[in-house]
Each structure stands twice: as structure tokens, then as C-alpha cells.
Amino acid sequence: MSSFFDRYANPTRFMRLATAVVPWTAAATLLLLGSGLYFALFDSPADYQQGESVRIMYVHVPSAWLAMAGYSTVAVASAFALIWKHPLADLVARAASPVGACFALLCLVTGSLWGKPMWGTWWAWDARLTSVLILFFLYLGHMALLNAFDDAARGARAAAILALAGFVNVPVIKFSVDWWNTLHQPASVSKMGMPSIDPRMLLPLMLMAVGYTCFYVTVLLLRVKGEILSAKIRALRLSLMQVANQ
């Protein structure tokens, strides 16, 4: 495992790998989201109870999944940064956090837009909704801590500790609908057993979910590349200043 990381977590190698991969994930994103949107908006049935409003599911559920995947990225990267002090890990956490925050926000807003016509309320303080709101605040806290210190390394450390501590929230989000009575319905798509969703509705949901994932990978790779370049620029500026002072 450590040889794998030595190989690909080297920033220069990572840059090369990312440059090679991004066109493919970008193309896959366009293809999947294009076909997903077609099925989601034109070629899928209305729900027997919810009617056409069920189409909000195709943007709401993938953003919820990506909000949790984004937080997992931040937490895993933070663990690597704290334990193995890997130079790339801090950059990955820094790059992933705003993307995850955007998905968490999208999840909350689209959920609200779905809740109003179906449940009859924009918001309810039930365990599921509240834990997702906490996830959003954890993202905000992480981003704030990253920039709260003059010494970037100290900020990264504090943010990494917050990210790891906040990770307990992820299983709480996932299982909140099973542990407590909530207004939010339980999961329809789980690994165990058949999903309780019609195949013609599962198809656009899955296309959108995989499309969102490809989108996330693409944007994350671009942002990590950007972070690597920023680090290089900072180092170069420093050495230029030293040259000028001599």
C-alpha cells in the first residue's frame, strides 16, 4: 500500500496522471449527465403518489450521495495528512471541501423544493435533515479553519482534526432514517435486497448518480492540480525573493 502511495501521491506523477485522466472523466460526465437528464425529464414515468414532482429525486439524491462522498474524501485525506504527513493529502482535503459543501447545499435546497409540495413544509428538524445541515456546517468550519491561521500548516492541521472528528456524522446521516422516526423516508436504494423503486425510475437515478460522481472526480482532479500549482508558485516566489535579497 505504501509503495502505491509513494508512486501516485508524488505531486509530479499525480499531475501527469490527472492530466491524462481528466479528458476521459469529463467526457463520461457529459455523456452520463446528458443521457441521465433525457431519461429524468422526458423518458421516465411520473410517480403513483408524487406525480411529476418525483423528478426532483434525480438531482436531489445524487447530490446527497456526493455530499457524503466529498466529506469522506476530506476525512480520508485528513487522516493521511495527519498520520503520514503526505504533501498531497492536505491539498486533496483543501480541494475537496468546497465541492462537497456545494453538493450539501444543493442537497438541502433541492430537498426543500421537494419537501414543500410533498410533505407540506420547506424544512423539518428531523434527524435526517438536521444531520445533513450539520454536514454543511462541518464543511464551512473546515474551509474556515484552513484559512484561519497565518501559518498554513497549522490551519491544515486544525482543519484535518475537525474533518476527522466530524466524520462520526456520516454514519449518523446514513442511518438516521432507520434509527429514529423521521419525516424523511428511508432509503430506496440499498445494497441489500431489491431497491423499492421502479426500473424505469432507477435508470435515470443511476445515470445521474454515476454522472455526478464522474463530475466530482473531474472537478476534484482539476482543483488538486490547481492546489499543486499554487504550492509551486508560493515556493518559487519565496526563492525569487531570496535571490533578490542577496
Binding site: V109, G226, L229
Partner: protein, 51 residues
Amino acid sequence: MNNYFSMGGYAAFVWPAYALSALVMIGLAVTAWWNLRVRERDLAKLRDQLP
């Protein structure tokens, strides 16, 4: 066609959900790409200044 856009009376909820998702995701992609471009340019300029 009008019938389609009305989304069975849920147009005011369905379309904003899709529009906001598109807006945020396009924003994320464009800023990620643009920042990368800017930094590539800055880095090239700095490298030219090196003795």
C-alpha cells in the same frame, strides 16, 4: 408542450431544483478550470523571471 413544462402543477419546484443544480455545478467546473489556467500562466511567468 405547455403541458410538459407545467410538470403536473409542480413546475415551481421541479425547474428551480434543476436550474440551481445546473448553475452550481457549471460554476464549480468553470472556476476549477479557470483557476488552473490562471495558475499555469502565473507559474510560466515566474519561471521566466528565474535567473
